[in-house]
């Protein structure tokens, strides 16, 4: 059954993610967040569009560029900001930081800072779900750079072979740090390549959250019916530097003009425009309060005690 998109919900999530990251940018010069941050600004619509098509019991694997996915999957915002602050109240007690967010209560698996490494985990998790005859599935998010790693192809082959319930989502923002995809691949047609492994694929170039939602919903339904893994490539654009709070127009090939078409169709503005003024303001006020509370929570939380260093090496 196709669900009607809930614009208010979409906007609330998009706005939350955008504003959290803008607050990170604001706070960054204070050096309270002493770790690398990889911002998702411009790419949020993918996490939100796909996660809205999932059920709460489904599981998501992501990457070090994980703020958007963490929040879209329903991760606890207080624990996230506290984690960025390195506080004991953080989702990983300050030992993970921005690159290793986790909230397994909502199916948000811990993220990895080594490109592509969580891709086989998604397949393994899906294998377990299949063995356990679970109705849940796994959504696996990664960037275009990850498709250059060997383990990506090893995983596609195995997932197709075992017909595993995985939705692979490639957020194609075209850049691996500052290197354009055309400088990294002779053939940039990812879908054709992936299809040859025996997966069904689709590419969304519009940058529309509604297209993402609709396509993801369809794929999710078919995966649940046992059709095996699907691959969804979604074009997007990273509006900030690979790492850190700044813009990077002078550093990568291409220019700000390339980004303008993406800025024009920024989904935070587009979705906001679909709401009546009253609803929009109400959502924004609630989100602002939530973020303010989360920052306050992080500010007053304690740093871990020295003994914490040796805890959790083993479970």
């Amino acid at each position: 059954m196709e669900k009607t998109p809930d614009y208010q919900r979409f906007y609330e999530k998009l706005y939350l993610i955008r504003r959290v990251e803008e607050e990170i940018i604001r706070l960054y010069p204070s050096d309270k967040i002493k770790s690398p941050v990889h911002l998702s600004i411009g790419q949020e619509f993918i996490s939100v569009g796909v996660c809205e098509a999932l059920d709460p019991h489904d599981v998501a694997f992501g990457t070090y560029r994980g703020h958007a996915l963490y929040l879209a999957k329903g991760g606890d915002i207080n624990e996230m900001i506290a984690e960025l602050y390195g506080k004991e109240a953080g989702c990983a007690r300050g030992k993970g930081g921005s690159m290793h967010l986790i909230d397994n209560k909502v199916g948000m698996m811990g993220t990895s800072a080594i490109v592509s490494t969580s891709i086989p985990h998604a397949a393994g998790y899906a294998l377990a779900l299949k063995n356990q005859k679970s109705s849940s599935l796994v959504a696996c998010f990664f960037g275009d750079g990850a498709t250059e790693e060997g383990v990506f192809y090893e995983t596609l082959n195995f997932a197709a072979l075992k017909k595993l319930p995985v939705l692979f989502i490639c957020e194609n923002n075209q850049y691996a740090i500052y290197t354009h995809i055309k400088d990294r691949m002779a053939n940039t047609d990812l879908c054709t390549r992936v299809k040859s492994f025996g997966l069904q694929t689709e590419r969304i170039e519009s940058g529309s959250i509604l297209d993402v939602y609709k396509t993801a919903q369809n794929m999710v339904e078919r995966i649940r019916q046992g059709e095996g893994p699907f691959f969804l490539e979604i074009d997007t654009y990273r509006l900030r530097d690979h790492v850190g709070p700044l813009e990077d127009w002078g550093l990568r090939k291409g220019s700000k003009e390339d980004a303008l078409k993406w800025i024009d169709k920024d989904q935070v503005s587009v979705l906001g425009g679909l709401l009546d003024d009253f609803s929009k303001k109400r959502i924004e006020a609630a989100v602002e309060k939530k973020i303010e509370d989360a920052i306050q929570y992080a500010e007053v939380s304690h740093f871990p005690e020295n003994e914490e260093l040796y805890k959790h090496v083993f479970s």
């Binding site: 490494t117 985990h121 294998l127 377990a128 995983t155 959790h312 083993f314």
Partner: protein, 354 residues
Amino acid sequence: MYLVDKTSSRSITYGEAIYEATYQEMERDENVIVLGLGADDPKGLFGSTKDLHTFFGSHRSFDTPLSEDGMTGVAIGAALAGLRPIHVHQRMDFVLLCMNQLVNLAAKTSYMFAGKQSVPLVVRNVIGRSWGQGAQHSQAFHSFFMHVPGLKVVAPTTPYDAKGTLISSIRENNPVIFVEHRMLYEIKGIVPEEPFAVPLGKGRILAEGDDITIIGISHMVAEALRAAAHLKEVGITAEVIDPVTLYPMDIDLIASSVLKTGRLLVIDCGWLNCGASAEIITQVFEKLQEEKSFRAARMGFAETPCPTTKNLENIFYPSAKTIAMRAYKLINMKEDWIPVSEEAKEIVAFRGPF
């Protein structure tokens, strides 16, 4: 070879002990699965996984594509979902393809996520030797894994410990690098039929003695025990210790033996540089330096890749004879004794192919 448990009288091989532990754990816990190249083929990894798929289903014991890196990740992902995968490798050399997943992911997961996730994974690695295994079918990388916090490393030598530590490893909530040796596979020992767990982190004194402490690792325990028999001929009693678990290491057991003997000889089944032997001697020194001065030496693979031809391969490895001579020299500061020693029967008997 020698008795560990004197209450049972059933004798099985090391390979059979590994098979039995796996079978019994799969029977006990439906979350235990086995995967790896050749896991369900007719030979079943030297018999250790043979026909498990016919008993437990092909969803619980299965062959994999030749994708060691990816399949290690798959095993980790399955472990995150509550399964207890045993990933098998016919040679440890191929595990180099798995290093990224094992070191960057499996070893870090519990810590990076403050214990919210754990990886109950067993990686079984068989070290090869003899009949022309050559440079890429003979390597032992236990020291690599000992270096990384978050991994446990086990290298049982007796059939009893092979069964008991494999059962413990499967029940362990953390990744375990389980190191086996092909030359041990046909060696028999007393092993109780019922399931039993040998706790990880405990070493074992396999021969008692007063004059020297000899630590063997993996197959070198067998050679060390034969060396101890040679040493008896010249009135030397050697205490032979099998650490069984290499991380965490039972250094107290080793140090208390050295406190008694004043001499420590470590025989690694691997290279010496930055290896397990360096670690053992250093840790014993750090522990005993205030109360005891002692002499130490170590032996292991020659500092070369392993050659294929038999006569060179023979001198690549320590043997009962060279170990005995090294121990004699450590005690008497002389080299005036050469024991009459035969090549180990498991090495003579091995005809591979691998």
